[in-house]
């Protein structure tokens, strides 16, 4: 009627985000992180986990000494009364979670986007192509099918 091309494109939903069990295998000596962190075995899982705490092991005795020497901190206006109603906070138990592995997961070998550099944002240049009809454009909030991104309600 008005010369507009009708919508030729039907956009499906975006692909689902990967589940943790779909993450790539985390522990591989060939792709290990560059720092010299010791690798420990998580109990009962058979999964190796690297911890930064373990990497800081040599400094641990010094840190403990500093904590022992430190005076208890009492904020202004607060008195040490030995009030039985005071709730002592227990330090959370230190636990090691195997987790899915290092984050972000190691990149696959080879360039993922040939010709593009790391840490550079890209906005592809829009080309004028098929458009929605005016009625459909007003309904969808855009004239361009490639910009239509409905929330998956």
């Amino acid at each position: 009627m008005n010369g507009f091309r009708k919508k030729p494109l039907v956009w499906g939903p975006l692909p689902p985000a990967p589940r943790p069990d779909q993450f790539p295998a985390a522990v591989d000596q060939d792709t290990a992180p560059p720092w010299d962190a010791p690798v420990m075995e998580a109990a009962g899982t058979g999964t190796t986990v690297e911890t930064r705490a373990a990497a800081a092991e040599p400094d641990a005795p010094v840190a403990e000494k500093m904590v022992e020497d430190a005076e208890p901190v009492v904020s202004a206006g607060e008195e040490k009364t030995g009030d039985s109603t005071a709730v002592e906070m227990e330090a959370p138990e230190e636990r090691v979670f195997p987790g899915p592995g290092p984050y972000p997961p190691p990149a696959p070998p080879g360039p993922s986007c040939p010709g593009m550099e790391l840490a550079t944002a890209y906005i592809p240049y829009q080309r004028y192509g098929p458009t929605y009809s005016p009625a459909e454009a007003l309904e969808k909030g855009t004239l361009f099918p490639e910009l239509y991104r409905p929330y998956p309600y």
Binding site: N2, G3, F4, Q126, Y128, T131, P134, A135, A137, L138, T142, L143, F144
Partner: protein
């Protein structure tokens, strides 16, 4: 407001939205001939429908020629928020 006027108003809104979209596209693609052609087509149709609506119902804009003949018609029509589509 009768059904014909409402339909006209709806078409005008659709074409205005399309013109704005093309306006934004052309801001970054000033020489895109296809987009320019579509914008010309939209503008022609928009002017035609606007003139028809104003002839039937009154001015769509306070500065329309239709609004200042022998009576200030701008206040005769319902305000946009009073129209039930």
């Amino acid at each position: 407001m009768n059904g014909n006027s409402l339909s006209l108003l709806r078409q005008i809104m659709e074409l205005e939205f399309t013109a704005i979209e093309l306006n934004l596209f052309l801001d970054t693609h000033p020489d895109d001939q296809e987009a320019l052609r579509d914008l010309r087509m939209v503008n022609e149709r928009l002017q035609s429908l606007t003139a028809e609506y104003e002839r039937l119902r009154g001015p769509l804009f306070p500065f329309s020629a239709e609004g200042a003949r022998d009576h200030w018609r701008w206040i005769d029509e319902p305000w946009p928020w009073e129209i039930i589509y």
